[in-house]
Amino acid sequence: MRRPARRSQHRLGIARIFFLALFLVIGGRAIQLQVLQGEKLMRLGQRQHLKEWIVLPKRGALFDRTGEPLALSMESQSVYARPRRIHDVEKLSHNLARILKLRVADVKEKISAEKPFVWVKRQVSSSEAEQIQTLNADGIGMFYEPNRHYPQGQLAGQVIGFVGLDSEGLEGLELKYNDYIRGETGSSVAERDALGRRVLVQGVEGLHIPPGSDLHLTIDTSIQHMAEKELEASIRKYRAKAGVVIVVEPFTGEVLALANYPSFDPNNYSKQSAEQRRNRAVTDSFEPGSTFKTILAAAALEEGVVGKEDLFYCEMGKYPYAGKIIHDTHPYGWLPFSKILQVSSNIGFTKVAEKLKKERFFKYIEKFGFGEPTGIDVPGEAAGLVRKPDKWAAIDLATHGFGQGISTTPLQMVMAYAAIANGGFLMRPYVVRRAVGAKGEALMQNQPHVMRRVISEKTATLLSSMLQDVTTEGGTGTMANIEGFNVAGKTGTAQKADPVHGGYAAKKRVASFIGFVPANKPRLVALVLIDEPEVNVYGGVVAAPVFRNVARGALRYFAVAPQKPAPLPAAPTRPEASPRHIVKRPNVKLADGDAEAAPDFVGLSLREALEKAQALKVKVRLQGSGYVIKQSPAPGGRWSEEAGLVLSLQG
């Protein structure tokens, strides 16, 4: 009995030692793994089951003043290749080229490059991405990247600017407000399983990275569209090179529309030239021409040098001054100051400038903001060129008076007129009202900002009444007149400097019109500038109608009641005129019965008008001479051939 017991005790002892040794070995290994190599192993492990997920920045959107989106961001996929992992280059490059609409040779070159990573095509469409997905090829992958869309296309393209492939603003507001709209790139660490799927065991807190803020603009899509459309129509009609329309709210300095031609579509910015991208309204300086006479008039009235009815002798069209001869388009004798502005007499204004003297004139040029940027929140603003009076030649006093030898940006001009419209305050213009964060909080807000008082309210009122005469019978800007409203404004036809030969180019002109409406209680100030028109060069013919159409449309849009009520339209006599019929008949033409649309003679010279009338076999009756400024019935209006056309000419 004792022997087996001793044996089993012996065995137990061995087992005990065995297990003890085993535990010691395991314990030792545990210490080795946990303590000695712990950190390193933990890192290795985490590398396998934790992954850093990059959260792409969400760029904020751009909206117009009514909340209409102008720029929105979306994520789209970009296709990359890892050339070393690709087996069948030939077949794959054919497939990729077919799906992505690229050249086979280009794709082949890319995917057989000696690089670890190459982009095949960035920002592909969702259907392309789907097809790439189904290829399921080794070494080809896709990656989400933010992509910018401009749903309104070319509308205000130069103002909005554009974003590069790496989500950085490169031009326009996208550049200026990049810090607000960009948003942050973030990353969060999440676990992944054996198949690489993300398992959000830590919750989604880390995934929320604040997006960029949205910008709300002062631009109004409808007015902007009208401005662009009218500008383009005029540029085509008069075969001009370029043009600008700016519409500003005079009391706040908010820019309602800022149109440039040639237009620019930021959706394919890379395919368009720098010419198209340029925001001429702020980056380009022009010699303003006669529109600058208003500045001299304001200075002279404010300083009390002249009164509205003071008479000046206009020398019958020729006036020797400082060794040169100053000309007027038409010879005039004695004219009151208001009439001098109405007919835009160079000689009259030279005499006003002589009375004012250059120091005082210069003081007002500076006060109106010329020679310095207006401070608008758009990049690349030019200051224009204004010389100090001690550098003026003797003739400069006269030429500055009618806008030569000085250069201004279109925006400076429109802001100066806004100061006259609002009673004398120079406002700082702006295009962004506010930047709004993700939670709806305003991060930045632009408020109306008065730079300074330039002229007294009395002078402003007096000057605006004088500017109203410009658009009424006998003025140079009658084509800017809007039925039912008093329009104040001034035409301009500036010569262009010849950079090659010096002096002024023989035929190149800049036609412009700047005005505000309704004159006594202005809702908008607008500038129209047409660069190098060919068919006709006069501001009153080329630019004024653009102003009229844009301003009339904007007033209707703002529902501003006419000051002089229009007569009630006669009740429609013909059944065609009832809306019910119009809706039923698509492509309604004006040609009903014997009536058809009247051809357009406006802007043509007397000779061109007669030639056109002969070609179209149209009877015309002429009133006056020069250029056609008005026709009855209006272009496109109902008209029958027998009745003929009445053309009013001026110029």
Partner: protein
């Protein structure tokens, strides 16, 4: 008497010896029972822990899927917003109004804005 007394004494001796043994056995049983309960408790805790961990992973998957769905819907929403804005751009609206509906710019006197 002596033998009887002796027998009795032996009996009590045996009884005396048996009592501590039973006591020890009972204590032993109790200890085993306690250990068993503790072990079972421990096992249950471990199981609960594993179950919770599994639940966390499962919820993680659900969250991940939902989060993906959310981003997909957000993306879709953005695409639709872009589409809407493109379709309602003033240029397109004007074209449609003119061509499909035969509308045109109102002539003089056709618009009356009431003061």
């Amino acid at each position: 008497m002596a033998p009887a007394g002796g027998a009795q004494a032996r009996k009590t001796n045996t009884a005396k010896r048996e009592r501590p043994a039973r006591h020890a056995r009972a204590t032993h049983h109790r200890r085993v029972f306690l250990i068993a309960i503790l072990t079972a408790g421990l096992v249950a805790l471990v199981l609960i822990h594993v179950w919770l961990r599994l639940q966390v992973v499962h919820t993680g998957y659900v969250l991940s899927t939902t989060s993906k769905l959310q981003s997909r819907l957000e993306q879709e929403n953005r695409e639709l917003k872009i589409e809407l804005a493109t379709l309602t751009s003033p240029e397109r609206l004007e074209l449609l109004a003119r061509q499909r509906l035969g509308l045109r710019t109102p002539e003089k006197g056709q618009v009356i804005v009431l003061p």
